[in-house]
C-alpha cells in the first residue's frame, strides 16, 4: 500500500487514526489531571475533525450534525465539567504517582498489536485502510480500560470511560460513515446523561469519603474481613 496513491479522504482518515491512537497513549502516561483532561479534549477535537472531513468528502449531511454534537459534548462540556471538579477539589497541583508506568505503556503497545490481531480476518472482505481504522478504534477502547485500571482518581476513570466512547465513535465514523441518525442521537443522549450522572456522583463520593480516590471505595467484600 502506497500512501501517496490513496485519495485525500483515505489519507486523512489514516492520519486521524494515528493521531487518535497517539492521544490515547498520551493519556495513559499522564499523572496530572488537568493535562489528562486537556489531552482528552484534544482527542474529542480530532474526532470532530474526522467527522467533519467524512461529512465533507462523502457529502453526507447528517455527519455535520454528529460533528457539532461531538464538539459540544466532548470538547467543551465534559472537559469543562471535569476541570471544574478538579479545581473545586483543589487537585490541580497533585501529580498521581503512576505505579509501573513502563509496564503499563508496554501493555498499551501490546493491546494495540492485539487489536490488529483480533480484527485481521476483516482484511479478507475489505481494505487494509479499514483494518487500520478499526484496529485503532478497538485499541482506543482497550487503552481506555487500561487507563481506568492504572489510575486511582475517579476523574481519570471518567476520562477513561469517555475515551472508550471516543474509540467507539471513531469506529462508527470511519467504518460505516456514522450509524443511523436515530442511533447516533440516542448514543449522544446516553453520553450526556452519563456525564451529568458522573458530576452528581463526584459530589456523593466526596461527601461520603472526602476524596475522589477510588481505592477508598473498598467496603463491599465477598466475605467479612
Amino acid at each position: 500500500m502506497n500512501i501517496g496513491q490513496l485519495d485525500f479522504y483515505t489519507q486523512a482518515i489514516l492520519s486521524m487514526a494515528a493521531l487518535v491512537g497517539l492521544t490515547s497513549f498520551l493519556m495513559l502516561g499522564q499523572g496530572r489531571l488537568l493535562r489528562l483532561i486537556f489531552v482528552f479534549a484534544m482527542q474529542g477535537f480530532l474526532l470532530t475533525l474526522t467527522t467533519a472531513v467524512a461529512a465533507y468528502s462523502l457529502n453526507n449531511h447528517h455527519l455535520y450534525i454528529s460533528a457539532v454534537l461531538t464538539f459540544v459534548l466532548k470538547v467543551i462540556f465534559i472537559p469543562w465539567m471535569l476541570r471544574r471538579q478538579v479545581m473545586q477539589m483543589n487537585m490541580h497541583r497533585d501529580i498521581e504517582a503512576l505505579k509501573n508506568n513502563t509496564v503499563v505503556m508496554l501493555g498499551g503497545a501490546s493491546l494495540m498489536v492485539f487489536s490488529y490481531y483480533v480484527l485481521h480476518p476483516i482484511v479478507q472482505s475489505s481494505s487494509v485502510v479499514m483494518l487500520n481504522a478499526l484496529a485503532v478504534s478497538l485499541s482506543v477502547v482497550l487503552l481506555g480500560m487500561l487507563l481506568m485500571i492504572s489510575h486511582r482518581q475517579a476523574i481519570a476513570h471518567v476520562v477513561g470511560f469517555m475515551s472508550i466512547e471516543n474509540g467507539l465513535f471513531f469506529a462508527a465514523i470511519v467504518a460505516t460513515n456514522g450509524m443511523p441518525m436515530v442511533v447516533e442521537l440516542g448514543v449522544a443522549f446516553d453520553v450526556l446523561v452519563a456525564a451529568v450522572l458522573f458530576g452528581i456522583f463526584f459530589l456523593h463520593i466526596r461527601t461520603s469519603i472526602d476524596s475522589l480516590d477510588v481505592d477508598q471505595l473498598n467496603k463491599l467484600h465477598e466475605v467479612d474481613q
Binding site: 476483516i122 475489505s126 478499526l134 480500560m145 476513570h157 474509540g167 467504518a175 440516542g186 446516553d190 463491599l220
Partner: protein
C-alpha cells in the same frame, strides 16, 4: 400497533409526571396505577399478537413477535406487582428516616424510567436503539442503587456504573461491527433493523459477525451477570432498595439475555459454525457453577439471592447456547419462572429485612414464629427457586438437563452437581432464618404478601400445566430461535 405505542407512552408520561409533581403521600399508589395501566396495554398488545402473529410497525421501528411479546407482558406484570409492594415499603423507609421526599421523587420517576428502557429494549426492531435503551436502563437505575447515600451504597453504585458502562461499550463495538457487515450488503438506513438483518443473515460476512458476537456477548453478558463480569451485580442488588433488587433480578437480566439471543440468531444465520453457541455454553456453565459455590459464603440475604440470580442466568445462557428446540423451549420457560420466583423472593426478603432490622443472615431468625406469612413465603419461594417439583423451575431445569443429556451427555454431571451445590447453599442459610426461636422484641410488621402469593401460584401453575396460548408462543419463539418446533 397502537398498543405498542401505548406501552412506551405510559411510562414516559410517568417519568415526566413524577419528576414535575414532586412526592406526595399518594405517589406510591399512583405508581401502581401507571404500572397497572401499562399491564393492561401489554395484555391488549398480546391479544393483538395472538390474533395476527408477528407485528412490525410502519417504518419498521418496532417489532413484536412471539419471542418478545411474552417478555413484554412479564415485564409489565412484575413491574405492577413490584410497584404494589414498593408503595408501603418505601413509605416505611421514609417513616424510619432513611429517605426524604426528594429522593422518593427521584425513586418513582426513575422507576418509570427503568420500565420505559425495558419496554424499549424489548419492542425495538433496531439493534442500535436496543443498545441505547440497555444503557438507558443502567443510567436510570444507577442513582437508585445509591438511594440511601451510605458509603456502601455509593460504592456499589459507582461499581455498577463503571463496570456496566465499560461492559456495555463492548456491545456497542459489536453493534458497529454488525452494522459494518450489514452496510456491505444493503442500504444503510435500514441496515440495523433486526427484521432486515434476519432476512439477509445468510449474506452477512461470517468473519465479521463472529468477531462482533464476541463483543456483543461480553457487553450484554456484563448486564446478564455472567462470571467473570458479575462483580457489580451482588453489590448493586444488596445496597439498593429492595423493590429495585426485584426488578433488576426479574427484568434487567432477562432483557440483557434477550439482546444476546437476538444477536445469536443473526450470527447463527450468517455462519455455519457453532461458535456462538459454544461461547454461551461455556460462559453459562462457568457462571452457573461459580455462583452455586459462592452461595455458600454469603453473609447478606440480598447478596445470597443475587448469586442465585447469577446461577440461574448462567443456566439460561447455557441452555440457549445448546440451541436445540428442547433446550430453547426450556430456556424460555426458565426465563419466565425465574423472573416470577426471584421477584417474589426479593419482595419477601424485603419484608424479612424490615422485620429484623438488618440484612445480615446471622441476625435474621425465627421468621415463622414472628410472622408466619413472611417465613412461609421465604421458605416456599426458596423451595421453588431451588428447583423442587411441582414448581415451574423444576420443569424448566429438568428440560435443560434432558436436552443436555441428549446433546452433550458429558456435561450433565456438571449441571447436576451445580444444582446440588446451589440447593445446599440456599438451605443452609434459609433454614435457621425461617425456623428457630425469634429474637427478643421482634415484632410483626405490616406486610402485603399478595404479590408473592400470586407469583408463586403462577410458578406452581406453570410447573403443573403450561396454558395453551403460552405454550403456543414458546413453541413459535423456539421455532424462530432454533429453527424447528419443540417436541
Amino acid at each position: 400497533m397502537i398498543a405498542a405505542y401505548l406501552v412506551l407512552l405510559i411510562p414516559l408520561i410517568g417519568i415526566v409526571y413524577f419528576a414535575l409533581a414532586g412526592h406526595r403521600t399518594d405517589t406510591g399508589k399512583l405508581n401502581v396505577r401507571f404500572n397497572g395501566a401499562n399491564f393492561l396495554a401489554t395484555i391488549w398488545l398480546a391479544i393483538n399478537v395472538l390474533n395476527q402473529g408477528t407485528i412490525i410497525s410502519s417504518g419498521k421501528a418496532f417489532l413484536i413477535d412471539p419471542f418478545n411479546v411474552y417478555l413484554i407482558v412479564l415485564t409489565a406484570f412484575v413491574g405492577l406487582t413490584t410497584s404494589i409492594f414498593s408503595s408501603p415499603y418505601m413509605a416505611h423507609e421514609k417513616e424510619i428516616g432513611k429517605l426524604t421526599d426528594r429522593r422518593l421523587k427521584l425513586y418513582y420517576s426513575m422507576f418509570q424510567g427503568f420500565m420505559l428502557a425495558m419496554y424499549l429494549v424489548l419492542t425495538t426492531n433496531n439493534m442500535g436503539i436496543m443498545w441505547v435503551a440497555m444503557e438507558g436502563a443502567t443510567l436510570a437505575t444507577v442513582l437508585l442503587v445509591s438511594l440511601y447515600r451510605t458509603p456502601e451504597s455509593i460504592e456499589a453504585a459507582w461499581k455498577y456504573f463503571i463496570l456496566c458502562g465499560v461492559g456495555i461499550a463492548q456491545a456497542l463495538f459489536g453493534t458497529i461491527l454488525l452494522y459494518y457487515a450489514a452496510v456491505q450488503i444493503g442500504d444503510s438506513e435500514n441496515a440495523l433493523l433486526w427484521s432486515v438483518l434476519y432476512e439477509n443473515a445468510g449474506q452477512l460476512n461470517p468473519e465479521i459477525l463472529e468477531i462482533a458476537f464476541v463483543f456483543l456477548l461480553i457487553g450484554y453478558g456484563t448486564k446478564i451477570g455472567l462470571v467473570p463480569l458479575h462483580n457489580w451485580l451482588p453489590d448493586a442488588h444488596s445496597e439498593g432498595p429492595t423493590p429495585m433488587s426485584a426488578v433488576l433480578s426479574g427484568l434487567l437480566l432477562n432483557d440483557a439475555l434477550y439482546a444476546v439471543v437476538r444477536n445469536k440468531m443473526l450470527v447463527d444465520g450468517a455462519t455455519d459454525s457453532t461458535m456462538a453457541g459454544y461461547l454461551m455454553m461455556g460462559f453459562g456453565l462457568l457462571s452457573f457453577l461459580v455462583a452455586a459455590i459462592l452461595l455458600h459464603r454469603q453473609k447478606d440475604i440480598k447478596r445470597l439471592f443475587s448469586y442465585s440470580s447469577i446461577e440461574h442466568m448462567g443456566l439460561m445462557t447455557f441452555a440457549f447456547g445448546i440451541g436445540g428446540p428442547l433446550a430453547t423451549f426450556a430456556a424460555l420457560l426458565h426465563m419466565t419462572v425465574h423472573s416470577l420466583t426471584k421477584s417474589a423472593i426479593f419482595v419477601t426478603v424485603g419484608h424479612a429485612a424490615q422485620l429484623a432490622g438488618t440484612q445480615r443472615i446471622d441476625q435474621i431468625r425465627g421468621l415463622i414464629k414472628t410472622q408466619p406469612k413472611i417465613g412461609w413465603g421465604l421458605l416456599i419461594g426458596t423451595i421453588a427457586i431451588a428447583g423442587f417439583p411441582p414448581f415451574g423451575v423444576f420443569t424448566s431445569e429438568f428440560l435443560v438437563l434432558l436436552a443436555t443429556m441428549h446433546s452433550y451427555p458429558w456435561l450433565a454431571p456438571f449441571l447436576l452437581l451445580g444444582i446440588g451445590i446451589a440447593f445446599a447453599g440456599l438451605f443452609r442459610h434459609i433454614q435457621p432464618m425461617v425456623y428457630g426461636d425469634k429474637p427478643e422484641g421482634q415484632q410483626a410488621i405490616k406486610a402485603n404478601l399478595w404479590p408473592v402469593t400470586i407469583h408463586l401460584a403462577l410458578v406452581l401453575w406453570l410447573g403443573l400445566a403450561i396454558p395453551g396460548f403460552l405454550a403456543h408462543w414458546f413453541s413459535q419463539a423456539t421455532l424462530l430461535i432454533s429453527g424447528s418446533m419443540p417436541l
